[in-house]
Symmetry: C2
Subunit: 594 residues, 2 copies
């Protein structure tokens, strides 16, 4: 982490922005140290306990082990919920990247418990962006203090990923009342943190339709629906009619309660419109996009936790001998001495450290948007971020779950037992390719929308970054092989994108998008390769003057770069070839043929 924020994407550069000028590098260190300390003391210890003793639905209430509240209270007491908020509002006004790194530390320790706090921060950010002054006054402060928590209520049982269809059956309908508030009725599914007694109040952000609006996504509005109504002076009023109808029993991330909620079925459920009517989806995407970066980072940190655990295990456990050393009298070697175990560790290292570097880069793009004074720079940062978001979310979700799979394999039978943590990382991580927009949807977003964004300017801007790195690496003999390979990958992306965009322009949209998932892997692998070449550049430059104890670290970065370029990156070639042939197998197969 120090390598990434000191050498790869120096966080200190953000101090040049007026927004962050009051901070020093030492503030950043202090925040990260404090995150680490709190994560180890209050979050990590109950990660397994809240998996085994998951939230239970008893007599209409959710029972959660007390360690969860203790951790969240400590988090709030330490001021973490206000990391990002403006100083004027009592926040710390720290860079987004720093908050992302702090989040990452907590995610590695306990992704479920920190989930409550991150959802609440997202709700506060959204209200800050779109809420009225009064709404901000009433809701943001308690969220910033960590006294209240919040949720995002999008999905409905029948609609899943298809938000256009909220209201087709069990609809969320908001009816305007005389006082400007609305009466909501409907059901919401998959609501994380939907009910509990961890906080004084819960602020639900609910997507619903105001009768008379347009059909589909254009008729969706966003409402604040507090669990307890909020009086004008900020005190809590009566219970709103938000009923907990059930909890879902998940495969992983069990510590954060996942609920089925019913609104206004038994009594009056009052909601407050956020901004103008029918802007709900766009507003929610404000939160969703940050959430997607967060999902990517969460996936990376589950992968990182598994990698570190399996690495330690492979160094300590002695078992077996080399193929040519079969003398049973010789002592067994450490697991890490076996080539296939090293292969599994190198894969993990490549996936998690590569994606981590890319995620931190995405974080800095958000800070550029928040703090940079140059409008053109801000515009390009926004474009690159738009393009990166689906890649980070989907690629990290898929490959860092794969990393967890490899961690289990390194531990063998022990890894398959619940006495070791790696199986839980794997289960916890498996949610990430599903939620916040399933990976298949991210792929369509990338190819169908982001690749053509601003006439393709977003993709060009990212590929320009790749080309700049390629040029730098070409000058260093040890990196020339990778420079060449990345240059080829860049060309492969351009060729493939051209073929697919042409196909779309000809009106054959469905055909162009038929293999979008491979396109995401193609782009994702190339971006991760770029992140590795970037790291290798830093390492190659640092090595000649490195202190002895740093040498192996930098050599490890070079070795991982070599492994990714030789073992992993070539996998995109058949994908690119397939994409360019516009193969229609996935369209042509009929349901009856299965």
């Amino acid at each position: 982490m120090r390598f990434v924020i000191d050498e790869l994407w120096p966080l200190s550069e953000l101090l040049a922005y007026p927004r962050y000028a009051m901070h020093g590098r030492e503030t950043f260190d202090a925040i990260l140290d404090q995150s680490q300390k709190l994560a180890l003391e209050k979050f990590a210890p109950h990660n397994r306990a809240s998996d085994i003793d998951e939230p239970r639905f008893v007599d209409g209430r959710v029972h959660i082990i007390p360690e969860v509240k203790a951790a969240l209270d400590a988090y709030a007491d330490a001021g973490f919920p206000a990391l990002l908020a403006d100083e004027a509002e009592g926040g710390l006004q720290l860079p987004y990247t720093l908050a992302l790194l702090s989040d990452a530390i907590f995610c590695a320790a306990n992704v479920s418990t920190i989930g409550y706090a991150l959802l609440a921060r997202g709700v506060g950010n959204l209200l800050k962006a779109h809420g009225s002054a009064e709404q901000q006054h009433l809701y943001c402060q308690p969220l910033l203090e960590g006294r209240w928590l919040g949720t995002m209520c999008l999905s409905e049982p029948q609609a899943g990923s298809s938000l256009a269809d909220i209201s087709t059956r069990a609809d969320a309908i908001a009816k305007p009342a005389a006082d400007g508030s609305y009466r909501l009725s409907g059901q919401k599914m998959w609501i994380s943190g939907g009910d509990h007694e961890l906080s004084e109040n819960i602020v639900h952000l609910v997507l619903a339709k105001i009768p008379g609006g347009l059909p589909g996504v254009k008729g969706i509005s966003l409402f604040i629906v507090p669990k307890f109504r909020v009086n004008d002076d900020g005190s809590l009023g009566a219970r709103n009619d938000v009923q907990l109808a059930g909890v879902n029993h998940k495969l992983g991330q069990r510590g954060i309660v996942n609920t089925f909620l019913k609104f206004g079925e038994r009594g009056e459920c009052i909601g407050h419109l956020v901004g103008a009517p029918h802007q709900g989806l766009a507003q929610m995407f404000h939160l969703m996009n940050e959430a997607r970066i967060g999902v990517g980072m969460g996936a990376i940190m589950q992968g990182m936790a598994g990698y570190q655990y399996s690495l330690q295990y492979a160094k300590e456990r002695r078992q077996g001998r080399h193929p040519e050393q079969k003398d049973p009298a010789s002592p067994p070697v450490a697991l890490i001495e076996h080539a296939d175990v090293k292969r599994m560790l190198l894969q993990q290292k490549c996936y998690v450290e590569g994606a981590f570097a890319l995620a931190v880069y995405a974080g800095t793009l958000i800070d550029v948007q928040l703090g940079c004074e140059n409008a053109e720079t801000r515009r390009y940062a926004a474009l690159k971020l738009d393009l990166l978001t689906p890649v980070l979310k989907a690629w990290s979700g898929e490959w860092c779950t794969k990393a967890n799979d490899l961690a289990i394999q390194v531990l063998g039978g022990y890894g398959y037992t619940r006495e070791y943590p790696v199986e839980q990382y794997w289960r916890d991580n498996r949610l990430n390719p599903i939620h916040e927009g399933a990976n298949g949807i991210q792929a369509i977003d990338l190819l169908g929308r982001k690749a053509t964004l601003a006439n393709g300017a977003a993709l060009v801007a990212m590929l320009d970054e790749l080309r700049a790195t390629t040029a730098q690496a070409a000058a260093i003999a040890a990196l020339a092989e990778y420079s060449e390979a990345l240059a080829s990958s860049t060309v492969l992306i351009e060729q493939t994108t051209r073929a697919l965009v042409t196909c779309m322009a000809e009106g054959r949209v469905r055909l162009a998008l038929a293999n979008a998932s491979y396109y995401l892997t193609l782009v994702g692998h190339a971006f991760i390769a770029w992140a590795w070449l970037k790291q290798a550049l830093v390492a190659a430059r640092a090595l000649p003057d490195a202190a002895d104890h740093d040498r192996e670290f930098y050599e490890g970065k070079l070795m991982a770069c070599r492994f990714f370029f030789r073992h992993e990156l070539p996998q995109i070639e058949p994908l690119a070839r397939l994409l360019q042939t516009l193969d229609d197998s996935t369209l042509a197969a009929t349901p009856g043929q299965f």
Copy 2:
């Protein structure tokens, strides 16, 4: 399944062997129908229950939900444990392939519960092959009747996959006694079915060392260690000192108790040597090889169960619209209409139906060995089976677990909950790349031993099969594309094998084996492609005269073949290239670089 045993590898051909001549095709059908009926009635209903309410270790005893014993009793009452045994011993003397198919049906229903019975059958088979007449007399009959169950005791806590090291710390030492029996002492880990009250007795087959023997695997002998000693008249005697020291809490396959056993620590543990001393490993491999085919089939059937469930779900659930049909007033389409969902279903179909065909082929090779009168044919069958075994075990374990991952993704959030069965299939299947020799070990077995077996004759024999199919397919226009691709893959395997074998011959064994896992994927994908081209040949020939209701089935086989050849098979090209460069990254990386 009917397609495979009637059209692809006609089981009726086995009736030509004298060993099976007394059977008719209708017997086979009856056995499979009965398997299906019993699996649905007694095994499937408690698959989830025994996952939730897994075996518990209370007061030194294992508590198992009663449905497990009821299922195993019904299985025994119906005569299934004696499917394979000779008629002379009261068995049904049915083909091995048929038993494999029956097992497959039970595995799909409940892999944990059937595990007890399959282990017992393996123990009986091993004693039949290597035990004395007296041992067979005393132990085989109760096993055949399903009154007793059995285990394989190989691993020790400190030794894991490295059997050479059993005895390094917690050793299993067998000391000869005056009566020809041995006294055992030591510990065994990961013993499935190691203790329970499901059967009158448990027959442990234990690997242990007789003092004075050679070090390493050459000093390992095999012992029968019954839980209750067996009197000369077959009645049960005193309790042997086999202590249940603990049960392991697994990620999946929870229904079959997995134990840590201690032998002879508190009292006298009497064991009986099987065959000659120091032959233990070779004898156990008799059982292990069959077990590896069984593991492969188990993996395939978990994949199959997930595929079928997600297919049904995708046909019924309506959600979303096509990219160019965004009119929210139009009804949502079924999930299966989305290209990316079809991609995930096609992948599952390719993996599970491809591997199923290959596994059944392996089964017929065992029957050739058991029943064919031509010695040369038997020899080639044995060679091909030796080569196929690690491929089937490791490839199916990896790719059919991947199939389960895709099944979860098709169901989305629902798939991530324990209210749906797909997450359990995924967890259950995750064991298969680990047990019975971890996949990395299978890869070394394939490249380091099987590829060079009999001077490479085993590999040549299998590649000849591929070439024969290639030639047949070349004559059919619709299959020419695949014929050509399979021919290229065959050449790729030959080139790659030559490069690696040469490297080994030069004494650079560790380098040649450094990327063995990719070699297994290379060979595995090519063999699965062959299994698909075989199926496509049958389908292409059957289509012109097929009845209307069969047409889509055959077309589906052709579509899956197309998908595998276009989307999956090309992934082996970068692997083959990498293998041929003899890349040493996995040797060169040092522990400190991670």
